[in-house]
């Protein structure tokens, strides 16, 4: 594999550095730089997806240090798909921000690009400590982005968010210390190779270490009881940032997929790490998310709770990590990220036309672009609630088919179906409050001038779900192939370690 594998990380990193260096020249300088990098990213991702779709897993040793001694980047179908998802979401979010949101504070573009570099790095890395570093890059950028725009609400939400994530990072490091202390390696493929040889005396410690790691990923993915930070943080962020954050929780789910698919499933004593508890917890997450969707006071908070629901939906299926369920999880992940990301932008577009009431769910003035906003709302509501005919419905069908033979099927099916119903009901009620019952004698607010940038961004993300629906055949075939690659596991290990001669390890002192 050529150096193309580095581009999804290098490109945003370079753009971020240029933006920082050109801070004094103002937005007129930063905007084109940031936009150019973000436009180039889907093209790079397309090259990566095309290369990964051939079925070959490519590994790139940084600085030519062979694995497991150096850090490797690994491109398989799953990581290529995630990079693609990030870049496809980032472009509309950035375009939306160009309409003025980026001017509300300093360094928006640099932080945005750092965030992209962190996201792509986390998806591509084949080393678990490097995963931690990229987590910190993307979290560090997200701390800045969350506070972007100022105000007490955001400062307060930021403090909660940062403290929680710093505690999460601490747990991550503790887990890594135990993993290195017992297994002597941090390379994901090498971990999978070493894990079956762990002596019984160390097995409890290794299990604990991986359990801590799973907790960290559950915190990032906002799994109950570690999900209460999410509505606060996502509800407080400005719209383009919240839209980009839609993929942030998916990093946790991706990491869970990767670690359980490649590492945990390779040894008898770690394969059942999720077993008794993940499904009940995920179903409770769905329930709490659905209640939040019903009870939220503002539209952006509603969307934040929709993210929680999608986390629960995805993780309820992850216990059965076979090809069908993994493929369904990948497809639903693509769908729910784009749909919730688009919903954050739409919520802001609606709020802009409601004067002081903003996105509060109460009767208010007429919105100007009733037809456009209403239709966009309809499309997204159908998509996220999982009604036919859009991608949400297809994704849910795939998820439900995948768990058909699971022992949890009696719990998962009702949870998925009832959550669809509740989300659909809640969104229907919100439509009538926002659009259909304007207060007749309330003076119309001063509408902001129409913005072509905002409209383009919203339409692009709203159209993502119908496009995904039309392309379901090829996307789900790709997801299936990606799942096969992940479940097969040996291909990944060989691709990373294959060229290294037999590694001789000294026995660790006990």
């Amino acid at each position: 594999m050529s150096h193309v594998l580095l581009l999804p990380i290098l490109l945003p990193l370079l753009a971020a550095v240029v933006c920082v260096a050109g801070q004094k020249r103002g937005l007129a300088f930063q905007r084109p730089v940031s936009l150019a990098a973000t436009v180039a990213l889907p093209l790079v991702a397309a090259v990566l997806v095309a290369s990964a779709a051939q079925g070959e897993i490519s590994s790139y040793a940084m600085g030519a240090w062979p694995a497991p001694f150096g850090i490797v980047l690994v491109l398989d179908r799953l990581s290529a798909a995630m990079v693609m998802l990030t870049s496809v979401l980032a472009l509309p979010a950035l375009i939306y921000s160009l309409a003025g949101a980026d001017a509300k504070g300093r360094s928006f573009h640099a932080l945005f690009q750092f965030q992209l570099a962190g996201l792509n790095g986390a998806f591509l890395t084949g080393d678990i400590f490097n995963l931690f570093v990229f987590f910190e890059v993307l979290l560090g950028a997200s701390y800045g982005l969350l506070a972007h725009g100022g105000g007490l609400l955001r400062a307060r939400a930021s403090i909660t968010y940062i403290v929680l994530n710093l505690a999460g990072s601490t747990l991550f490091l503790i887990a890594l210390a135990f993993i290195y202390g017992t297994l002597g390696t941090l390379n994901i493929a090498d971990l999978a190779r070493v894990l079956p040889q762990v002596p019984p005396s160390d097995q409890a410690l290794v299990r604990t270490a991986f359990a801590l790691l799973v907790i960290v990923f559950a915190l990032k993915a906002a799994l109950l009881p570690l999900s209460f930070w999410l509505p606060l943080a996502y509800g407080a962020a400005i719209a383009p940032v919240a839209a980009l954050f839609a993929v942030l929780t998916k990093v946790g789910i991706y990491a869970l997929l990767r670690i359980s698919g490649i590492v945990l499933n390779s040894a008898e004593f770690t394969v059942s790490l999720f077993d008794p508890w993940l499904v009940p917890v995920a179903i409770t997450t769905i329930a709490v998310g659905a209640i939040g969707v019903l009870a939220a006071p503002r539209l952006s908070v509603v969307v934040a709770y929709l993210v929680v629901v999608s986390t629960g939906t995805l993780l309820s299926v992850i216990t059965v990590l076979d090809t069908a369920s993994t493929a369904a999880v990948i497809y639903y992940m693509l769908h729910s990220t784009l749909a919730t990301g688009g919903f954050f932008l739409l919520a802001d577009a609606i709020a802009n036309q409601r004067g002081d009431r903003g996105d509060k769910l109460e009767r208010g003035p007429h919105v100007r672009d009733l037809k456009v906003l209403g239709s966009a709302f309809l499309v997204l509501a159908v998509a996220v609630s999982g009604m036919p005919p859009l991608s949400g419905f297809l994704g849910k069908v795939m998820l439900m088919q995948a768990v058909q033979s699971s022992e949890w099927v009696e719990a998962i099916w009702p949870a998925l179906l009832v959550s669809s119903l509740v989300v659909g009901l809640a969104l229907a009620r919100q439509v009538s409050v926002l659009f259909w019952e304007p207060i007749a004698d309330e003076p119309r607010p001063v509408y902001p001038p129409p913005s072509r940038l905002r409209a383009t961004a919203v339409v692009a993300l709203v159209a993502a779900s119908p496009i995904l629906t039309l392309a379901t055949g090829s996307v789900s075939a790709y997801a299936r192939a990606a799942a096969e690659q992940l479940v097969a596991r040996q291909g990944y290990i060989d691709a990373v370690l294959g060229t290294t001669p037999q590694i001789i390890r000294e026995r660790r002192p006990r």
């Binding site: 400590f129 570093v133 910190e136 560090g140 701390y143 800045g144 506070a147 105000g151 007490l152 400062a155 307060r156 930021s158 403090i159 909660t160 940062i162 403290v163 710093l166 505690a167 990072s169 601490t170 490091l173 503790i174 890594l176 210390a177 135990f178 290195y180 202390g181 660790r508 002192p509």
Partner: protein, 110 residues
């Protein structure tokens, strides 16, 4: 030596967790700092405690220290240092805006 290190890590972790659960941002940040100290020590000893040995393979020298945890801990220190600096700045701004250093940015009636 092992006992001392593990007691030290335990004490730092316990104090860190206690402070994180306090209601003032200052104590919470102190707690985060203590927790990161504990983690750094833990990472450091994950390569096992070896006294008086170089972190390199020197010809003729029987013992050497595992150098990877030292590299890892360096990364972890830099990251936690940067993040702590940021949250201090943010906490100061929140205090400036709300007039209180309560984590909820408002005083609870007592």
């Amino acid at each position: 030596m092992e006992l001392m290190i593990s007691l030290g890590i335990g004490l730092l972790t316990a104090s860190g967790i206690y402070l994180i659960l306090r209601e003032r941002t200052f104590s919470v940040i102190l707690g985060i700092t203590l927790l990161s100290y504990a983690t750094n020590l833990l990472i450091f000893v994950s390569g096992r405690l070896v006294l008086g040995a170089p972190p390199l393979v020197v010809p003729g020298q029987a013992q050497h220290t595992d150098s990877i945890p030292q590299a890892l801990v360096l990364t972890a220190i830099v990251i936690s240092f940067g993040m702590t600096a940021y949250i201090v700045a943010l906490a100061l701004r929140a205090k400036g805006e709300s007039g209180t250093d309560h984590v909820d940015a408002e005083e609870r009636p007592r």
